[in-house]
């Protein structure tokens, strides 16, 4: 008897299994192919705008992705560094060999965690409670909870031109039974679609026709452990090229051969809006003369180059022509053809905010099965599902992060409250309070939770507490120390190209000036780490904006704290719009704040609900 069975060994599955095992629960990870654990079937990168911050949050909560990415990256960039602190985010080129290898090593060395190579056929369910799984070979394995992280492996079809093959990524075996089982149990199954571009043999590319894209000179890490494994001075570059007129002509001439444009007539899957195929881009943005493509190395151990921006479901002969129309790729050798993949997912609105399903108790789902896209989005859900399954086993309340606390909170709330139409990718604009959800302060926001849960070691926690104290100390120093309006003081200011003073000014107020960087002042106060300096600089410079965001978030959270009784009968609320009534009945929001975020529920409906709760709910119950 296991405490937790995790079905699937992708990014969500690894985090889920590690979290529950580390929280002292006997965990079994079931995967179709042990060699595919923590596989990166699409782009060879971790992070990106907003996604990089999610990785930091995973790390602060005690997840593995940040550390594992640090061990496997060969190029690192801070995105949006020219913009404000709120939108900075890390993006790494991660090695597709090293990343899974390191993750497998970690899994294997974790106590309470076993790995089994098998396919799950069905869930064992009694009285709407999950009790374990039945494997395709008929074996039954019992457990108290099950976490499904099946990725794209539910009835996946690989689509290339007019062919449809029932296979998972890399031609892996797909699960033919599990989604039917879920459907029978009461889940609404939807079909989603995503795609991946061709891989090109590095030696066949003429890089002289491309633009080199390098990493940043400053070393960065995802993890707050701050261990740098890569050589900052010897990062592997990417390369930038653009599509040509000829590329566009080839695509237009062959459009009807693409699976999505007539090659197949039974496409049901909805593809991601934010990651369109190259034929989509050319059809939808027909006035654009060219599109950007990145050549990204997949690994330092082999020669595949990932052609980012060129995902397609054209037949292979057209793909050959398309690739050869690109500058520098005239003689390119395609090692793997691009494909689209269709797969089953559940309706995420059938979940609670804890990621436990509303349909079957003790069953959790995370990752692409919930309709998201992306390694980071999957990993953070896996972590939360693992944490909450464990907390439930301990009889504790689930960890539910607020929208003002973490991108993870935004993501899960969006999934549960709004549901998804197309695969969900995190964007900074999905967060209301991104000035609070920064790359630099993920540890300040979440380490405490990670420590309370038991996923953050005492050592790491002590480091966090020290950092927090240093931040306070430095702020205090800045508030006390002043520059006097004498010739010495004003000379100093003149040197920094800032306005001279008539009255003395604290370093704190001086730092508020946009032209003053904290580095300019560092001889005037004690010694602090780079991280501390960064945090303090941001919190001083943007103090007004941060305070305002905090205030807004407080108001927002107040609405989230207005609870809707779980047994509320929406049919008793007169005048509710029927669309709103239906959605409220399906989603059953737990708070007024959550109800407000449901599309199709209008302010008037909210008024009616609140009036009903205030005036009539208690009466109706009597």
């Amino acid at each position: 008897m296991y405490d937790v069975i995790v079905i699937g060994g992708g990014h969500a599955g690894c985090e889920a299994a590690l979290a529950s095992a580390r929280m002292n629960h006997k965990t079994l990870l079931v995967t179709g192919n042990i060699n595919n654990i923590a596989d990166m079937p699409c782009n060879p990168s971790i992070g990106g705008s907003a996604k990089g911050i999610i990785v930091r949050e995973i790390d602060a909560l005690g997840g593995e992705m940040g550390r594992n990415a640090d061990k496997s990256l060969f190029q690192m960039k801070m995105l949006n560094s020219s913009k404000g602190p709120a939108v900075r985010s890390l993006r790494a080129q991660a090695d597709k060999i090293t990343y899974p290898k390191e993750m497998l090593k970690t899994l294997k060395s974790t106590n309470n965690l076993e790995i089994l190579e098998a396919m799950v056929k069905e869930l064992i369910v009694e009285n709407n409670k999950v009790k374990g799984v039945i494997l395709e070979d008929g074996n039954k394995i019992k457990s108290k909870t099950v976490i499904m992280t099946t990725g794209t492996y539910l009835k996946s079809d690989i689509l290339v031109g007019s062919t449809r093959i029932r296979k998972g990524p890399h031609g892996e075996q797909t699960s033919n039974y599990l989604s039917d089982n879920l459907k029978k149990l009461g889940f609404n199954i939807k079909r989603l679609k995503t795609g991946t571009p061709p891989r090109i043999d590095k030696s066949s590319i003429d890089f002289s026709k491309t633009r080199v894209e390098t990493g940043d000179d400053t070393p960065y890490t995802f993890s707050f452990d701050n261990n740098i494994y890569y050589n900052v001075n010897n990062q592997v570059p990417c390369h930038l090229i653009y599509t040509t007129e000829n590329t566009h002509k080839i695509i237009k001439d062959n459009l009807n051969k693409s699976s999505m444009y007539g090659g197949l007539d039974d496409i049901k899957g909805v593809g991601p809006r934010y990651c369109p195929s190259i034929e989509d881009k050319i059809v939808r943005f027909s006035d654009k003369e060219r599109h950007q493509l990145f050549l990204e190395p997949e690994s330092i151990y082999y020669d595949d180059i990932y052609l980012q921006g060129f995902s397609t479901s054209m037949p292979v002969d057209v793909q050959e022509k398309m690739v050869h129309s690109l500058p520098g790729l005239e003689n390119a050798k395609i090692l793997k053809y691009a494909y689209a993949i269709e797969y089953d997912a559940i309706d995420s609105r059938q979940l609670n905010l804890s990621l436990e399903t509303k349909v079957i108790e003790n069953l959790y789902t995370a990752g692409q099965i919930n309709g998201t896209s992306g390694y980071e989005e999957a990993a953070c859900q896996g972590l939360i599902a693992g944490i909450n399954a464990s907390l439930k086993l301990k009889g504790k309340d689930p960890l539910i992060l607020k929208r003002s606390e973490a991108y993870i909170g935004v993501l899960i709330d969006d999934l549960i409250t709004k549901g998804i139409m197309d695969p969900y990718r995190m964007l900074t604009s999905r967060a209301e309070y991104r000035l609070l959800l920064r790359n630099d302060n993920a540890d300040m926001r979440l380490t405490e939770y990670g420590y309370q849960i038991g996923l953050i070691s005492d050592l790491k926690y002590k480091k966090f507490v020290d950092k927090k104290e240093s931040i306070d100390r430095l702020i205090n120093e800045l508030k006390i120390k002043k520059i006097i309006p004498n010739s010495l003081g004003n000379n100093f200011l003149r040197e920094m190209n800032t306005t001279e003073i008539k009255d003395s000014i604290t370093l704190y107020d001086l730092l508020k000036r946009p032209e003053i960087k904290i580095d300019y002042l560092k001889d005037l106060f004690g010694k602090y780490s780079k991280d501390v300096l960064e945090q303090v600089e941001i919190s001083v410079k943007y103090e007004g904006y941060i305070k305002k965001a905090l205030k807004d978030a407080e108001k927002f959270n107040e609405l989230d704290s207005k609870k809707i009784p779980s047994d509320i009968d929406y049919s008793k609320i007169k005048n509710l719009a029927s669309e709103a009534r239906q959605k409220l009945e399906n989603i059953r929001p737990t708070s007024i704040g959550q109800a407000m975020r449901i599309s199709g529920v209008n302010p008037v409906d909210i008024s009616l609900i609140m009036v009903y709760i205030k005036k009539e709910y208690f009466y109706d119950r009597k």
Binding site: S49, S82, L427, T428, P514, Y545, P603, I606
Partner: protein, 449 residues
């Protein structure tokens, strides 16, 4: 929520037709109980039907009853309107009878609240309904009607769209930074756009402030020495005996108010105790009040006596009003001229007894406010204090974003303020949700509609 409400929706003034309105699922059946004439439950939709209202055997009134079935009604519920031809008293009796027969008395603004809740009108429209009810002059009414057509909503939507265009471009820049072929919105690019938006909001706001004069009227104080004819002038304007007019100095100690519509401009007239320096304690309080009113009023009508010389008190007042909008009336021109009017401006010569000068006074007021120059049709304005303050807040946010640009703040910080402006505009349109918004809004409505 679904019960049937009723109220007298016309002013409780004698002479006019009174309308008693009902809304709700039982409106027709309840009306049918008290109505003798055609069977209202069987008559065609949107018809008006002649008959009588009876309380038992007792005839209360001869009426016309409009039957309007949902959803094509103001509230999207069944609506009955009873046009009663008799006195206010009989309208009240009909109301009482309906309440007895199963209706509930409507709360202030409840008809409009239902219209809003049932999706018939948006917030901006709901507010302008309040204006129609409130509007006491013709000009103001036509402005309110214009707003119902949604031109103000459209203007705000238009500005909001401009803001969201900027926002979405910034978002794309942030979330897809690797794409160098998307225009990167720099502070330099967006600054002129923000200035333009700020200007448009200012125009909207100024129009709104002008419109307040039209809608709420101009506070006009009539001031002068005792017995100079203030109250007579007031009465001439009001054309009824509201103020106490006597020839004993000092009788108008209380301030008497009345409103008058002069060629579409509403004046809120404030009569004052006559101003003279006195030992009488009670009267001196009145005098002080009168002097204070000069500061508060938007228009001062200062009345002098043709038959006496200008006194010390009057010179003080002339001095006090010289920087304000004022009109001087030299009254009692039927008597011998003793006044030295050589230094007076904006003078109307008047004899209230002989009806001379009142028309000139009205002309001067009309010209002063030049309403003809304002094209009401193109006039986008926001009526309520709430909308005006939201526009003001939006302007502050936009101006802050411009300031943030000047301070060299990064674009995502600048965007925080831009987002906020967009939210304020959304609030006016009722697009964003604010908890107490509805309570606040609907309690402002007067009873009836």
């Amino acid at each position: 929520m679904n019960d049937t409400i009723c109220a007298i929706s016309t002013p409780l003034a004698p002479g006019a037709i009174s309308i008693i309105r009902m809304s709700g699922s039982e409106a027709i059946s309840i009306a049918n109980k008290v109505f003798i004439g055609k069977n209202l439950e069987k008559v065609n939709d949107h018809t008006i039907n002649y008959g009588h209202v009876y309380d038992g055997d007792e005839l209360i009134d001869e009426v016309m009853v409009s039957v309007m079935r949902e959803p094509n009604t103001y509230t999207r519920e069944d609506i009955i309107e009873i046009n009663a031809h008799g006195s206010v008293a009989s309208a009240k009796r009909i109301l009482t009878l309906l309440l007895k027969s199963g209706c509930r008395l409507a709360n202030p603004g409840e008809f409009t609240e239902r219209a809003f809740i049932n999706g018939r009108i948006d917030l901006v429209e709901a507010e302008s309904v309040m204006d129609i009810i409130d509007s006491k002059s013709e000009k103001s009414l036509s402005m309110a009607v214009n707003q119902l057509s949604g031109s103000t909503s459209n203007k705000i939507k238009d500005i909001r769209k401009k803001i969201s265009d900027i926002e979405s471009n910034i978002e794309v820049n942030i979330d897809f930074p690797e794409y160098d072929d998307i225009t990167v919105l720099s502070n330099e690019i967006i600054k002129p756009k923000l200035v333009e938006i700020s200007d448009e909001l200012h125009t909207l706001l100024n129009n709104s402030k002008d419109s307040k004069i039209i809608k709420d009227g101009i506070d006009t104080v009539i001031i002068g020495k005792p017995n100079v004819g203030k109250s007579s002038i007031l009465n001439k304007l009001l054309e009824e005996d509201k103020a106490i007019v006597t020839d004993i100095p000092g009788t108008t100690r209380d301030i008497v108010e009345g409103s008058v519509d002069i060629n579409g401009i509403r004046l809120n007239l404030i009569d004052t105790a006559g101003i003279r320096y006195t030992d009488d304690v009670v009267e001196s309080i009145g005098v002080k009040k009168s002097l204070d009113l000069i500061d508060k009023a938007s228009l001062i009508i200062f009345v002098l006596n043709n038959n006496t010389e200008i006194t010390k008190e009057e010179l003080d007042i002339l001095n006090k009003i010289k920087d304000k909008n004022y009109i001087i009336i030299v009254n009692k021109i039927d008597l011998e001229k003793k006044i030295d009017d050589s230094n007076l401006n904006n003078v109307v010569y008047m004899s209230t007894i002989n009806n001379i000068g009142i028309d000139q006074l009205k002309d001067i007021i009309t010209k002063m406010y030049e309403l003809d120059k304002i094209n009401i049709k193109d006039f986008n304005y926001l009526s309520s204090a709430r909308s005006i303050s939201l526009i003001e807040k939006a302007i502050i946010s936009i101006d802050k974003s411009i300031k943030a640009i000047e301070e060299g703040m990064p674009i995502d910080i600048v965007e925080v303020e831009i987002n906020e402006a967009s939210e304020y505009l959304g609030d006016i349109l009722g697009i964003n949700y604010k908890e107490d918004l509805f309570d606040q809004l609907f309690s402002n409505f007067c009873l009836g509609k």
